[in-house]
Symmetry: C2
Subunit: 303 residues, 2 copies
């Protein structure tokens, strides 16, 4: 075994989950497996491959177990899944998932509309997930949504985000991914939020999860890098969207993030050309145009 | 006369010139005049409305004199034009243009391919423009292209950019707009370039002109704000592109820039809703989709 060199920045690829869950079309397990293989080949260290939720709510994720069973796993890639409840965790365990994630909202209104319960109830609901995962030594990541604004409530206070993020970490989550679910935050909002949060939370426990609805995602990530955040979620080709926001737009495109990091001389371990190839594959499967400007600039026929 | 409150950031709207010059379709003077009126109504302080160049080279700008004659001028808006040579300046003077601009490239290869002469020759060519404009009290802005990379040469040295920028200022230009013509620069490149330039040049003499080809424009502007740059070029609806770059993309969309500045609490004097309306008008005329993510998010039918 050789010791892997730690990259400067960790990119968590959420395209196969957050991305595909918000695309209209449902892909077959074989298509998703091929996507995950291409993403792993590009050097991405962590790929969220599916979600163990009721297929009634998220039909696009119904074949997640099949996906996990079909992946040829690369030893230094983490293949994770979203598991909002104990039943989901049990299914994930059956599918040999190595790492799971839970989610909460920083906005009461969004929590009610999105998952039909209060923030407190949502945390109570996934507490057994954390307990069981701990027993089994499975790391649990937390997503915290609406950290810079809610489609129903408007602005969300940084102190509210801080309170819930701290609680998620106390409950045993190893990292909180701060989601600007509707993409309304600017670089200045990002800086203000992170300056508040990093007073009491180590920056190494925080990740940023940007949607590019208002075109601000990369500027926000740049601001977060300046606040010592080193983990960022992104979706290849900018897959996805958010059904709760007008003019929805997907996550920041992984290609555009990798390009920016290259300009900084910050390593991510990702080969941009292989990543663009992975994006081209999924765009062909979905019959969509890439949302990555870098992919479009490098290969004009993509756009 | 009331004293106008100086906004924190000056946005130079280049859509009617840099934007439209790179769109396939040529608009009538009436259409351009209507666009300029809508842009002025939104509060933009400076609008580049046309270019006095040979219609053989840039047919989209052939009706610039007619445009300038047709504009109902607002007293606190500057309506400027590009005038690459003395003949252009004379035509601009005939059309009552208040402010003009010249351009040079930071890349020898780009200068040769774009305007068929060396950088030195290009500066010699517009020196009479500067002399005559000075006699008449007409302020001259300078565009300096390829400051973060050239489609033919690749990377361009910051010291080379600095040398030419200083020369342009010495020749009497009041401001140098640093153009990332092919949009390859990242926020980190922007910071490095500006740190070099502002050693000897006051930041108030510099503007940034970003194309969003690689999706980096807003992050670059954010980095430039941190380097005390306060003047930014932008195109409503992200009009335009660059014929010299693969997968060309227009200037950063003015709407997305205004949105980011609002997040900073920085004033620009621009009303975002009126600006989006101006963008909608020009998109309808051109039969194109907006490239502004903010416009798309605010009015989903735009996108």
């Amino acid at each position: 075994m050789t010791a892997a060199i730690q990259p400067d920045v960790k990119i968590v690829e959420v395209g196969p989950r957050d991305g595909l869950q918000n695309e209209q079309q449902t892909l077959t397990a074989a298509q998703k497996i091929q996507l995950v293989h291409l993403l792993a080949a590009s050097g991405l260290p962590e790929i969220e491959c599916g979600s163990f939720v009721s297929p009634k709510w998220v039909p696009q994720m119904a074949n997640s177990a099949e996906v996990f069973h079909g992946i040829d796993r690369h030893h230094d890639v983490i293949y994770s899944a979203l598991t909002p409840n104990l039943r989901g965790l049990e299914q994930a365990i059956d599918a040999n998932v190595q790492q799971v994630a839970v989610f909460a909202s920083a906005s009461e209104a969004f929590s009610h509309k999105n998952i039909n319960c209060s923030i407190d109830e949502s945390i109570e609901r996934f507490t057994p997930v954390l307990e069981k995962a701990k027993q089994l030594g499975i790391p649990v990541r937390a997503y915290l949504s609406c950290v810079m604004g809610c489609p129903y409530e408007g602005p969300v206070a940084a102190t509210q985000v801080e309170k819930i993020a701290e609680r998620l970490l106390e409950l045993g989550c190893f990292e909180v991914s701060l989601g600007d679910t509707i993409g309304v935050g600017t670089a200045f909002d990002t800086k203000r939020l992170l300056q508040q949060l990093t007073k009491n939370i180590p920056s190494s426990k925080l990740a940023l999860h940007c949607h590019d609805t208002y075109g601000q995602a990369l500027a926000n990530i740049y601001a977060a890098l300046k606040c010592d955040i080193r983990t960022f979620d992104a979706s290849v080709s900018g897959l996805g969207g958010c059904p709760y926001a007008k003019g929805a737009s997907g996550n920041v495109a992984t290609e555009d993030l990798v390009y920016m990091l290259q300009g900084a001389g910050l390593t991510s371990g990702v080969d941009l050309d292989l990543l663009i190839a992975a994006g081209r594959y999924i765009d062909q499967q979905l019959g969509r145009q890439t949302q990555s400007k870098v992919a479009r600039a490098r290969h004009p026929l993509n756009g």
